[in-house]
């Protein structure tokens, strides 16, 4: 089952809409609530990152019987030093983002903590691609 959502950079009013839609679908599919929470926390953090840092982005969601894969592809300034961006507390967020309760440099580490697979690639002045997966029925 595949879904696609378009995200506009700077659109804080609708930030989280895609994550909310994905959560509704997973609930309808009776996925374990703990797995849903891990997945949507990752997705929401990543969606807010696109709104906060990129010009636009697309979220690709693929739900299969063994895992949920989400790929977020954005067009934007990119990340020059991914290792630095992964450090807890490092952030380049604007004051507007901080007013929304984000921008404390916790997003990417929290995504990594909640995901079973985590892969991030970025090209400066082009954009960032983040792919995460959460396993279903993992022993």
């Amino acid at each position: 089952m595949q879904f696609e959502y378009t995200i506009d950079g700077g659109d804080f009013t609708n930030a989280g809409y895609a994550s909310s839609q994905v959560k509704k679908v997973l609930k309808q599919l009776n996925v374990d609530p703990k797995l849903i929470k891990r997945l949507v926390v990752c997705l929401y953090e990543a969606e807010v990152n696109i709104v906060a840092h990129a010009y636009s982005g697309i979220i690709y969601t693929d739900i299969s019987t063994d895992k949920i894969v989400v790929k977020l592809v954005d067009k934007g300034p990119g990340i020059s030093d991914i290792n630095l961006a992964m450090q807890m507390g490092y952030s380049t967020a604007s004051p507007e983002v901080r007013e929304m309760g984000f921008g404390a440099g916790m997003g990417l580490p929290n995504i990594k903590n909640n995901a079973d697979e985590f892969n991030i690639e970025s090209v400066v002045n082009q954009g960032t691609t983040l792919e995460i997966a959460v396993y279903i029925n993992q022993q």
Binding site: S20, V41, E45, G101, F102, A104
Partner: protein, 114 residues
């Protein structure tokens, strides 16, 4: 702790979800930083915050938080109330500071998250 009890202790208005009589909160967490809220792992958690915008409700939705108290007498925008109603989240507003509201709930037996 039930919805009506929280409202009484905090002298809070319930902006939506008043009819959620059976909803029970086991613990509470107070923060204006939504990234912190997104790291929490608890069932039956009440969130206290002074951050009155839609992202507070989105954060609550993603974190399975079913109750949010807006402290410090902040003006709660209508779009926030609408989203809380749509998401099945009980939304309170109260005049107390975060410190006072947390203290009152703690004093009345609502546990801290950690």
């Amino acid at each position: 702790m039930k919805v009506k009890e929280i409202a009484k202790i905090l002298s809070a208005n319930i902006l939506c979800g008043e009819d959620n009589h059976n909803l029970e909160f086991e613990c509470a967490f107070a923060s204006d930083l939504m990234s912190d809220v997104l790291t929490t792992q608890a069932d039956g958690m009440l969130l206290l915050t002074g951050l009155a915008n839609v992202q507070t409700i989105r954060t609550a939705e993603m974190s399975d938080v079913q109750g949010v108290v807006i402290v410090r007498n902040k003006t709660v925008p209508q779009e926030m109330i609408d989203l809380a109603c749509e998401s099945g989240i009980v939304l309170f507003e109260c005049r107390s500071s975060m410190y006072k509201a947390s203290g009152l709930l703690y004093q009345n037996g609502l546990k801290p998250l950690f």
